[in-house]
């Protein structure tokens, strides 16, 4: 039916004279390499969905360009210092924080309904509901009460008290007037019945500067001005976000002028962008934005050889990571020393580092007993070879290149590496998440700024059959001091007082090496020379958070 209508429209339009070229100045077509599974902000969150969502909706709070927490939908960030947040004790004796959140009063859903605390309460109730199909409901459970005071003011009670108590970035506002009846009708099937899935072009779902007017699943989303947006008038009248998965085809589309830009958040890899810049650097603005995405190798610490810290240190000393990033990525992706990025406030510049030192690596391997060379491979007295399997996601060309360089570098100090890659769904679906990798697994973590690595490093988060394979401590790292530091950081509300704790955590990480740090990824934004106002952040907030500031500079 929809298809017929579309065809009819196409026929009609084909008969009309083509005279729309003048308006094209105000159209922007963005190429991305993935299409979002669903446009709902909280069900199966994906980078692609977040990229589009920030054009059409806004979070209550978010991290800004300076990686500082800031209010978007609320008017003032509640803190203990400004008095909008206060410590309280709950009836059951638990310590909590009560925060006052004022929603901006000029926000309205696309159908004219104002955005109010009713939406806030509904969104919270949905997230807490046992049948909510949300991936992560930790925040919704942490908020134990919402006390409404008028259409724009509410008091949120949060427990336990942790230092980022006021970061409610992930509490995404939903339109209660549209979604509440749908959810209440049949909570179990909300995922397939939500308007975000069944009718994403419904104006009432969106309150940002733009709203989707056409969604072609798997191919593209077209957005136009949202009439109810009270903020600055955006320059572009129409945005098209087009998904092209094959990156060679994505490049070709850009060169052919079918798309104007490639989004840095989900587009080319750095090595692809470098090759592209070599040829077309003058015709485009190519910006490499360093990010928090941490590429590393998890080591399975249950392996008796890898359990020896000398081996882990030797492995890192044997790698010339600086040459690797210089040659493969022209230095655009900085070498990592721990899981904390240099751009993060929590980063400690004094963290111990492991330079390229094959001799030191050799000594460490000798000390660990692997002191005899046979066919260029180190062996110990029992005749065991110093040999590891290194796994990563098959088909990720960038990682496969790095992997082969690592193999060659380790080989030159007598460490034999067997490469065994798997398609992402096998690799993440069972091998990594069930700790089924023998020795090494290479992948990346994406995290928000100043994020406590509790699930990654705390000993209570090692996936086992008993805990239903939950947790991301894939190396199986158990360290009482690390557990203590994680808890201490979470409980320390004073930002300055947290810094020494962060420094201690990084020092411990560098000393113990539960994983081998490689580098932090960069996002290459490939933009037309005439586009201004795109400011990537490097963290999870996409550049489209400020889409209303994007403009053409060659046109008035």
């Amino acid at each position: 039916m929809g298809r017929l209508a579309r065809l009819a429209a196409a026929v009609t339009l084909a008969l009309l004279p083509a005279g729309t070229a003048a308006a094209d100045d105000r159209h922007l077509t963005i190429g991305v390499s993935q299409f979002p599974p669903i446009l709902h902000p909280s069900i199966e969150p994906s980078v692609a969905a977040s990229y589009i969502n920030h054009m059409a909706r806004r979070p209550i709070t978010t991290f800004d360009h300076d990686w500082a927490l800031t209010c978007v939908v609320c008017t003032t960030l509640p803190t203990l210092e400004n008095g909008l947040a206060t410590r309280v004790t709950l009836d059951d004796g638990r310590e909590a924080v009560r925060m006052t959140v004022d929603l901006a009063d000029d926000l309205a859903w696309g159908d004219g309904t104002p955005v109010t605390t009713d939406d806030l309460v509904f969104s919270w109730e949905l997230g807490r509901h046992p049948l909510a199909p949300y991936a992560n409901i930790e925040l919704y459970q942490r908020i134990v009460d919402i006390d409404v005071e008028g259409p724009h003011r509410a008091h949120l009670t949060v427990t336990p008290i942790i230092y980022d108590y006021n970061a409610i970035n992930d509490l995404e506002l939903l339109p209660a007037h549209l979604e509440r009846p749908i959810f209440q009708d049949d909570p179990a099937n909300y995922r397939s019945r939500t308007l975000y899935a069944t009718d994403p072009t419904e104006p009432g779902l969106w309150f940002g500067p733009y709203r989707p007017v056409a969604v072609e699943s798997g191919a593209q989303v077209v957005l136009e001005h949202n009439e109810t947006w009270a903020g600055p008038e955006p320059f572009f009248t129409r945005l098209t976000v087009r998904s092209i998965e094959n990156t060679a085809a994505l490049e070709a589309n850009l060169l052919a002028g079918d798309i104007d830009m490639i989004a840095g958040e989900l587009g080319l890899t750095v090595d692809q962008a470098i090759a592209f810049a070599d040829r077309h650097g003058d015709d485009f603005q190519i910006d490499f934005q360093p990010s928090l995405t941490y590429e590393h190798i998890d080591l399975n610490l249950d392996d008796p050889v890898l359990a020896d810290r000398r081996i882990r240190r030797g492995l890192l000393h044997a790698l010339d990571r600086q040459t690797l990033v210089d040659q493969l990525f022209q230095g655009h992706q900085p070498v990592a020393h721990t899981s904390i990025a240099p751009l993060d406030v929590a980063y400690d510049p004094a963290v111990p580092t492991y330079g390229f030192d094959p001799e030191r690596a050799g000594q460490l391997f000798d000390e660990a007993g692997f002191d005899r060379l046979e066919d260029g491979i180190r062996h110990n007295a029992d005749g065991d070879a110093l040999r590891f399997t290194l796994m990563t996601t098959a088909g990720n060309r960038s990682r496969e290149l790095v992997q082969q360089v690592l193999q060659a570098q380790w080989r030159s100090v007598g460490v034999d590496i067997l490469i065994e890659n798997e398609p992402p769904r096998v690799f993440f679906g069972s091998t990594v998440s069930r700790r089924a990798f023998d020795h090494m697994a290479m992948f990346a973590w994406v995290s928000p700024p100043e994020n406590v690595p509790r699930t990654i490093l705390h000993s209570s988060h090692i996936p086992t059959p008993e805990n239903n394979w939950a947790g991301q401590n894939y190396p199986g790292f158990r360290n009482a001091e690390m557990d203590r530091l994680i808890a201490a950081i979470e409980e320390e509300l004073d930002a300055d007082a947290r810094l020494p704790l962060w420094a201690a955590l990084q020092a411990l990480y560098a000393e113990e090496l539960p994983a081998l740090p490689l580098y932090f990824r960069s996002n290459p934004h490939v933009l037309p020379v005439w586009l201004e106002g795109v400011r990537p952040t490097g963290h999870r907030t996409p550049s489209t958070m400020w889409i209303e500031t994007w403009r053409r500079i060659d046109r008035p």
């Binding site: 060679a248 060309r397 290149l401 360089v405 490469i419």
Partner: protein
């Protein structure tokens, strides 16, 4: 049906050239370690300071995106690609021959049942199926397969053989059906010779030629298939080189270092076309009536 056209029993020039080319490629691939030793290059020898370098005395064809010698990589890649192709085609031929022989020889219900199975396998959409199979967790099927250092070589051979046997089965069945009523087969049966002995001694030699032709054509097809699987990210995994994954990896460097894509692409092209020409020549030599009528297994 009357037979027409000249009865040729020789291969013909194109097929002879094709056979020579294939033999040359096979020898070159077999000699890969020799060439590597001669040039002093390790196929996995990464040289980050010498990436995508043009041809030089040290590297006759230049280096690839990680500074490895392109010539050595191509030869090692040829070993993998040719091994996969020949092994998968031979495996498919073996399965197909057994099924075709059984169906044709026993006829009746056996035949009907086996041919229905064949129809079912033909009806499976090959490429999507290969993608599913490549994503299947080996642990669930074989109770944990041990490491496969060939970058998934064994798995691809197995999968292609398991779904690629139908052409041979049909050809062998048809040939068997026509042979089984001949006098010498009847005579053997009357003498009390066992089924297996009859099939192997009397029928198999008569159905060998279509099998050889189909297998030759299949080798070319599997080489193409491997390149497509590599393109989709489920082919031979690095660091093992295959022509397919070398071609896929060179996609992005097509403008900066076209050599990296042209060489494996040309080798795939030459090998496949040689297989097709050889198969065509063999077909003409064995059975001129069928000239150019053989079906692709893909």
């Amino acid at each position: 049906m009357t037979t027409g056209g000249p009865r040729r029993r020789h291969l013909g020039l194109p097929a002879a050239i094709a056979a020579a080319v294939l033999a040359g490629l096979a020898v070159a691939a077999a000699a890969a370690p020799l060439v590597a030793a001669l040039l002093g290059h390790d196929p996995a020898g990464v040289d980050l300071l010498n990436r995508a370098a043009p041809p030089s005395p040290a590297h006759p064809l230049g280096t690839d995106e990680l500074g490895r010698d392109l010539l050595v990589r191509l030869l090692y890649g040829g070993r993998v690609s040719l091994t996969v192709a020949v092994a998968a085609a031979a495996g498919a031929a073996l399965i197909g021959t057994v099924i075709g022989l059984a169906a044709g020889y026993f006829a009746g219900r056996t035949d009907a049942a086996l041919m229905r199975v064949t129809d079912a396998v033909i009806a499976l959409p090959l490429l999507p199926l290969l993608i599913v199979l490549s994503a299947v967790d080996p642990a669930k099927v074989w109770g944990g397969l041990e490491g496969d250092p060939g970058g998934g070589l064994g798995r691809i051979i197995l999968i292609v053989a398991l779904v690629g046997w139908t052409t041979v089965a049909r050809l062998v069945r048809a040939a068997t059906l026509s042979v089984r009523q001949r006098d010498y087969v009847r005579a053997a049966r009357a003498l009390g010779t066992g089924h297996l002995a009859i099939m192997v001694r009397h029928i198999l030699p008569n159905v060998a030629s279509p099998v050889i032709v189909a297998t030759t054509l299949a080798v070319g097809q599997v080489i193409l298939l491997e390149s497509v699987l590599s393109f989709l990210g489920v082919g031979i995994q690095p660091p093992a080189a295959s022509w397919g994954n070398m071609l896929t990896n060179a996609q992005e460097l097509i403008w900066t270092a076209p050599r990296l894509a042209v060489m494996p692409g040309a080798l795939i092209f030459v090998t496949v076309i040689a297989c097709n020409l050889l198969g065509d020549g063999l077909l003409n030599a064995y059975d001129p009536r069928l000239g150019g009528n053989a079906r692709r297994p893909a």
